[in-house]
């Protein structure tokens, strides 16, 4: 019963992206005027969504004088990679890019491991206070991080852990763990218990079952959890700017922020930085697009 439901849900979510003409639409044939309005609206939506990104990308390819010159041109007159070269050779920015990768990959691994254990407990065990703990997790999910920045700052300062990438990874977990536990729990529930039970009878331990049977069977779920975790860690700014703002330990987004507050804003360089910041998550999201929608909807709850 439960399995059926989550399968259905899964199907529903993949339909969000796949639905072309078949599924859930209002099946009345529409007149030409109506079509024109619909496509007109879609064109406007696409324009609003795309124009800032296109403009930034175009600026990132411009010579420095051209980026600030009037009248602005959409297509760079003399396209150049010098802005990208500047960003990718500036020691502080390169260090921060490296930090971003370390922190994002580290937090992803940590949170997926820890949440797999938690999600497994909810999916497979009946225990006292289970429902209460699940609602607590849902509640924790809703607490905005910004409220916690002052106590977190003081706490890490007391412990001498400001500007530590490891502390940053641990702190980022509060954004990701609740989501990942719920996500992985729902994936584990779709895996038949019989397999696990026979392995248990053969003398395999619970952890062994989890490692040898459950995890290999829930790889799609892990893919979503990992991509979402990476996205949260990569995009996180508030915690990073408060807890790690020393030039050696900034993440890329914070380094870009310091870059604009320290110098006169150089839009050529900055737009190259923006483009670089967008790429990793976009590539991940696009390559996992099919699995993504379900996770996105769940993950969106964190913002």
């Amino acid at each position: 019963m439960k399995q059926d439901r989550s399968k259905n849900e899964n199907h529903k979510f993949t339909r969000i992206f796949k639905s072309g003409d078949k599924t859930n639409h209002q099946r009345t044939s529409s007149g030409l005027g109506e079509r024109l309005i619909l496509y007109g609206l879609i064109a406007i939506f696409l324009f609003i969504t795309f124009s800032p990104i296109v403009w930034i990308f175009s600026t990132s390819l411009k010579q420095n004088q051209e980026a600030m010159s009037f009248p602005p041109k959409l297509i760079p007159e003399d396209p150049t990679l010098e802005n990208f070269i500047f960003v990718l050779t500036d020691p502080t920015l390169v260090q921060s890019l490296l930090n971003s990768f370390i922190v994002s990959i580290g937090s992803t691994l940590l949170s997926v491991t820890v949440s797999a254990l938690g999600g497994y407990a909810f999916a497979r065990f009946e225990f006292k206070g289970k429902n209460m703990i699940i609602s607590i997790i849902l509640g924790l999910f809703m607490i905005p991080v910004v409220i916690n920045i002052v106590p977190l700052y003081i706490m890490l300062a007391d412990l001498g852990l400001l500007n530590s990438l490891f502390a940053l990874m641990l702190t980022f977990q509060i954004l990701i763990i609740p989501l990942n536990i719920l996500l992985l729990k729902s994936y584990f529930e779709t895996i038949p218990q019989d397999l696990e039970e026979s392995a248990l009878l053969d003398g395999c331990s619970r952890l062994g079952v989890l490692r040898r049977i459950t995890i290999p069977l829930s790889m799609p779920g892990f893919a979503i959890a990992a991509v979402l975790s990476f996205r949260f860690a990569w995009n996180e700014f508030i915690l990073a700017v408060v807890l790690a703002n020393h030039p050696d330990s900034t993440v890329f987004q914070v380094a870009l922020y310091q870059f604009i507050s320290l110098y006169r804003i150089d839009w050529g360089y900055l737009s190259a930085g923006i483009t670089i910041a967008i790429i990793p998550v976009l590539v991940l999201m696009l390559s996992f697009q099919k699995n993504m929608v379900r996770g996105l909807t769940l993950g969106a709850i964190r913002g």
Binding site: V146, I154, M155
Partner: protein, 287 residues
């Protein structure tokens, strides 16, 4: 052995809960303690003096705090109205019989994969008073330049614009999930009964979408209340305090002026604002 298997689920949960306890639950409660003491960046590592409610008193004596509440109301009101309006329009349009609507949807969701910080940088560039592209286009159309980021009366709406761009995809995604949960045979029946499309929109789609709309509204309201990266990057809260929302006020008190405990006090007010939002919507939901 039986003992161990009883404890097992708790052992599985222990690592996640240890992390959440230290980095989420403890700081949340410690906030109150900090707000009742005098803590600044200078006294941080020394003995903290107990000051009772003094931090709250200075908070409520500060005209900038009231400004920030007013600014929050405008920012949240504007953001929620625009994100929700645009999002529901997009969701309904893309739910019509349109070739390739799945592709359009995938593209329209892109801003959500980008961070608020990056959205803020991009809009700071586009809205720049002197050489931003938007003012350039306005000038070409014969309209005078607008002080998007320098005019205290306008700056908040520029932030709302950036937040709309960043936040709308979530509403699109969430309400699309809602639209797909509606049974298509309802539309079929309405069509056979001769109902127009507009009629089925108002009598079938919107009523059935209501529970999704309410949850969606709760979430986007809370996020807009707590958002601060867009404000910090686009304006830093300025000019003066004209675009400092309550969340940014808290940050500026704590980390710009070094008054950590005053920031903590503002944080508690922020928690109360969040709770109020949740209670109002839940009441609304029950009705």
């Amino acid at each position: 052995m039986a003992q161990i298997s009883k404890l097992q689920p708790y052992l599985f949960l222990a690592p996640s809960f240890a992390i959440l306890l230290v980095f989420l639950i403890f700081p949340l409660s410690w906030n109150i303690y900090i707000a009742l003491h005098d803590v600044s960046l200078i006294t941080l590592l020394k003995e903290w003096e107990y000051v009772g409610l003094e931090n709250f008193v200075t908070l409520f004596d500060d005209p900038n705090f009231y400004t920030s509440l007013k600014v929050t109301l405008m920012f949240v009101g504007g953001s929620v109205a625009l994100q929700f309006g645009m999002g529901i329009l997009m969701a309904i349009v893309l739910n019509q019989q349109i070739r390739g609507s799945g592709v359009y949807r995938a593209i329209l969701i892109i801003p959500w994969t980008i961070s608020a910080v990056i959205a803020a940088f991009s809009f700071k560039f586009i809205l720049d008073d002197n050489f931003g592209i938007l003012n350039f286009i306005l000038n070409q159309l014969g309209v005078e330049s607008v002080g998007w980021l320098s005019d205290p009366n306008i700056v908040i709406w520029s932030l709302v614009m950036a937040n709309m761009w960043y936040g709308t995809p979530f509403t699109l995604l969430f309400l699309t999930a809602g639209l797909l949960s509606i049974n298509p045979s309802l539309y079929e029946a309405a069509r056979i009964d001769g109902a127009s499309k507009m009629r089925s929109l108002f009598h079938i789609t919107l009523p059935l979408l209501k529970p999704f709309m309410i949850i969606n509204l709760i979430l986007i309201t809370m996020w807009s209340v707590n958002l601060f990266d867009i404000q910090l990057i686009m304006t830093g809260g300025g000019p003066l305090f004209s675009s400092t929302t309550a969340s940014l006020y808290m940050y500026r008190q704590a980390f710009e002026f070094g008054l950590l405990s005053k920031g903590a006090a503002a944080g508690i007010i922020l928690i109360l604002i969040n709770l109020t939002v949740a209670v109002i919507y839940v009441k609304f939901l029950r009705r």
